[in-house]
């Protein structure tokens, strides 16, 4: 009798343990990133009480985050359909150069330069999409190849930074504020809202998710898979072009390679985001939170006087952590 009693006790304690682990995993996979973001904000506010939580600094963080958020949302679309886009940073750099080049060298008016640049961005996305869907080149290779080519094409277009002949109106696009809030924040809000609506509330968004979930099932459900993927790549190209344009406007010049660094930031943000609120799915709100984590982290570290070489350590570490959490979240989802 005592033996069976002991066994019973043992059993209940075991089930309780399993439940804790499950709850912990659920929490980590859904709210871990948000929790991390809140913790970072609290810690930085305590450690740098005068600089970090100031209005000016918070706006600065948002402004910094907005360009990353736009390009990362485009990347989110390609990941939703189960593909990849490694060209986003290169496209941003290239467009950043082209948009001022069109004004400075070709003498185009601002609006025409921007429209041409965005069209080129979409076109580059469509080239990526064609390489991947029609010729069936692995997306990693296709987009890396195109991105690398763009670096060279950019160089041949202008070997030196373009700093003259840029109208003041162009630089004011990114530098002006409305109600004290920098313009890029509004661009980010608008673009992310549109992308969120498309992904969650429209036919094409539902189809994108279907393609990413199971491409064969999507085909048999009557979805034109190639078109959906093209749309995702085109969106990524468009978002990269917007980021590139805003970047040049912010810097007041066109410089080779300025947008290249966005690739890693965007990836880290998107994977952090996929471990947010949902189990390993890529989505826009998650991406935004991922971007904010990065922006808050960089900003806080800088304010605390962390040496610059600490930045890449933070960035790389976050990327690995993000992909790890995303993988864990997905594994958790798969076991349920």
């Amino acid at each position: 009798m005592t033996a069976s009693g002991e066994m019973g006790n043992h059993k209940t304690s075991r089930t309780r343990q399993i439940d804790w682990r499950r709850l912990g995993l659920l929490f980590l996979s859904r709210y871990g990133t948000i929790f991390g973001l809140v913790m970072m904000i609290i810690i930085f506010s305590v450690m740098a009480p005068t600089t970090f939580p100031s209005r000016a600094n918070l706006l600065n963080i948002l402004s910094q985050a907005s360009l990353t958020a736009i390009i990362a949302s485009g990347l989110t679309y390609t990941l939703v359909v189960g593909e990849f886009d490694l060209s986003i940073g290169y496209v941003a750099s290239f467009i950043g150069l082209i948009v001022v080049g069109l004004m400075s060298y070709q003498g185009f008016p601002i609006w025409l330069s921007i429209i041409c640049s965005l069209a080129i961005g979409i076109g580059l996305g469509l080239i990526n999409g064609t390489l991947v869907t029609k010729i069936r080149i692995n997306a990693v290779i296709a987009t890396l190849g195109l991105g690398t080519m763009l670096t060279g094409i950019g160089y041949s277009y202008s070997a030196f930074p373009i700093a003259t002949g840029i109208p003041r109106e162009f630089t004011s696009i990114a530098l002006t504020r409305q109600f004290g809030v920098p313009n890029p924040v509004f661009f980010m809000a608008g673009i992310l809202l549109i992308l969120w609506i498309i992904l969650n509330k429209t036919d094409i968004g539902q189809k994108m998710q279907a393609v990413g979930s199971n491409i064969e099932a999507a085909r048999l459900s009557g979805i034109r898979v190639d078109r959906i993927k093209m749309f995702a790549f085109a969106t990524a190209g468009f978002c990269s072009a917007i980021t590139g344009t805003l970047l040049s406007s912010l810097l007041g010049s066109g410089t080779l390679g300025v947008g290249d660094g966005y690739l890693l930031d965007a990836f880290a943000a998107v994977f952090l985001g996929s471990a947010t609120l949902r189990e390993g799915e890529f989505h826009i709100v998650g991406t935004l939170i991922g971007v904010l984590i990065l922006a808050v982290g960089f900003n806080g570290l800088a304010l605390l006087g962390a040496p610059t070489h600490f930045q890449p350590i933070f960035k790389g570490g976050i990327l690995i952590l993000a992909v790890g959490m995303s993988t864990l979240a997905r594994r958790y989802a798969a076991s349920h």
Binding site: R22, Q206, A218, R219, L220, R330
Partner: protein, 530 residues
């Protein structure tokens, strides 16, 4: 033996007294396992003698897989013991299970495709080396002995990707034998095998049994189980509800034990004598593709359930793929409602009203990480728009459609937002059928609709198919389950080697006739339908 399910304790040799006989090689006692508060297995007992073929049957979710996973050491039971040859088996350790002589062959056959048969058999086994390099010749001696024992005819150097499913099973069996397995558990071994291939497997199983290797045979195919197994254990809702020796159970009793009640007898079935004087809803004329389909012509009438019978590899799935736009035919054409149509891709097929519920449910049908409602609605998004002409989805319309279909097809799910991966195979299949109910489908092709589905769910899937037919949809059912064809349809076209070998109607639809036509053409060559 029809009272077996009611008085499981009283009959024959399977009673509790003999269960504890010392000749049992493996004894499972009181195995209990809960997942998230739900009992998957409660107090299961199982006895296995040396060299016996032991059938393990039960509906999906009855606890078979949990039992097997406990034996394999993948799952640690909450309670209960497993004794092998008098020694207590350490639970939760795959290694301990393997060393105790237990081997497991799952339906998915965990083989590495681009490795040779030999490499696969030697996986995880310490290999003989020469100067630090693997000496395949000496390492493979035991593998070759095992291969010889079960009569593997192909060279072991063949890549797995080039082998048939039947040959892959042989590799798995050989792999188990190499490791001195005293028991091999096989999960649905004949699910992807043709008739002759299954027969060959059965004779290997009998040989193994004669040489003292016990087989734990898990299958939904009850005839096979009744025919092959020395003893049968039936699981229902995590409990052992019956066990009996060969000859003490018949199929009816077994079905009753599995589902807990009788199913409709064959005589009660509804026939679908569709009106064949009307225009066919769909026709194929002399359709050919590569070597697989060699000129198939057929007509499907509104409200008809037409069955395509035949062996695995007869070209039925390939034909279905041509109709559904997965592949394009080399020759011939299709007509829909008397109009010639081109079907270059799946999207065109779906737009025309032709849909395929594929054989590979998980890899080609389901979006596993999505919800039940999403999986149901994904093909009918156009009808779920908030405003006609604008591409915005109405959440409430989607919910209403999904909920209505869940209720209509009696899909057992806690909610439409539940992940579809957590449903049983039968309910997943019903959701895949539901996907097309909202689309105005004209021709629905179902490829092996009840494969891997338990008896109760199969009945409900059949009802769903009949409902669709009643609504005027033309239906083609591909099935290797001859009994299913006989129950479900009143016209069977049998395919053999890419051609139609004959047509069976009404009372001619018997297992014998279908099997006959699967191997020989009907009198007068290709049996066209006109």
């Amino acid at each position: 033996m029809s009272n077996i399910a009611i008085h499981p304790q009283t009959h024959a040799i399977g009673g509790p007294d003999t269960v504890r006989s010392p000749e049992s090689w493996m004894q499972v006692r009181g195995l209990t396992k809960s997942f998230a508060g739900e009992r998957a297995l409660s107090g299961a007992d199982l006895d296995l003698k040396r060299g016996e073929v032991h059938g393990l049957v039960g509906a999906n979710g009855a606890g078979k897989s949990t039992l097997i996973r406990c034996l394999a050491g993948i799952t640690h039971a909450d309670d209960g013991t497993i004794t092998i040859d008098g020694a207590n088996l350490k639970q939760g350790s795959p290694k301990a299970s393997e060393q105790a002589g237990l081997a497991f062959i799952h339906q998915e056959l965990n083989l590495i495709q681009h490795f040779s048969a030999l490499q696969n058999m030697l996986l995880g086994v310490p290999k003989k080396t020469r100067f630090g390099l693997i000496d395949w010749k000496r390492s493979g001696i035991r593998a070759r002995q095992a291969a010889e024992r079960i009569g593997i005819a192909f060279p072991l150097e063949t890549r797995v990707s080039e082998l048939s499913v039947a040959d892959r099973w042989l590799i798995m069996i050989g792999k188990a034998l190499m490791r001195d397995a005293s028991m091999i558990a096989m999960d649905e071994p004949t699910a992807s095998l043709s008739g002759p291939e299954s027969e060959r497997l059965f004779s290997i199983i009998r040989d193994l049994s004669a040489s003292g290797v016990a087989i734990l045979y898990v299958s939904h195919r009850l005839e096979e189980v009744l025919d092959l197994c020395d003893r049968i254990t039936v699981l229902r809702d995590g409990r052992i509800v019956d066990h009996a020796d060969r000859g003490h159970l018949d199929k009816k009793g077994l079905v009753r034990a599995i589902i807990g009640h009788d199913i409709k007898s064959e005589k009660d079935r509804e026939h679908f004598a569709a009106d064949r004087s009307s225009t066919p809803i769909f026709s194929a004329r002399d359709v050919a593709w590569r070597d697989a389909v060699k000129g198939v012509s057929l007509d499907v009438y509104p409200g008809e359930v037409l069955a395509l019978g035949g062996l695995v590899g007869a070209g039925r799935t390939e034909f279905a793929h041509l109709v559904a736009g997965v592949q394009r035919q080399d020759r011939g054409y299709f007509e829909l409602g008397g109009q010639r149509v081109r079907i270059p891709d799946e999207a065109t097929a779906v737009n025309l009203g032709i849909a395929l519920v594929p054989e590979e449910r998980r890899s080609e049908g389901l979006m596993l990480e999505q919800s039940v409602g999403y999986n149901i609605n994904i093909a009918s998004l156009r009808n779920l728009r908030a405003f006609a002409g604008l591409p915005f989805i109405s959440g409430s319309k989607g919910r209403r459609q999904a909920e209505a279909l869940v209720e209509k097809l009696r899909i057992k799910t806690p909610h439409i937002t539940t992940r579809i991966a957590s449903l049983s195979g039968g309910n997943q299949q019903k959701a895949l059928i539901a996907r097309w109910l909202g689309t105005g489908v004209k021709l629905l092709i179902l490829d092996e609709p009840s494969r891997g589905v338990d008896v109760g769910a199969r009945e409900e899937i059949h009802n769903a198919i009949r409902d669709l037919a009643r609504a005027g949809v033309g239906i083609i059912v591909i099935s290797s389950d001859v009994e299913e064809l006989a129950i479900l349809t009143d016209r069977v076209l049998v395919m053999r080697e890419g051609r139609l070998s004959g047509e069976l109607n009404g009372t001619d639809i018997t297992e014998n006739n279908i099997i006959e036509l699967s191997y020989h053409d009907a009198e007068g060559g290709q049996g066209d339908t006109q």
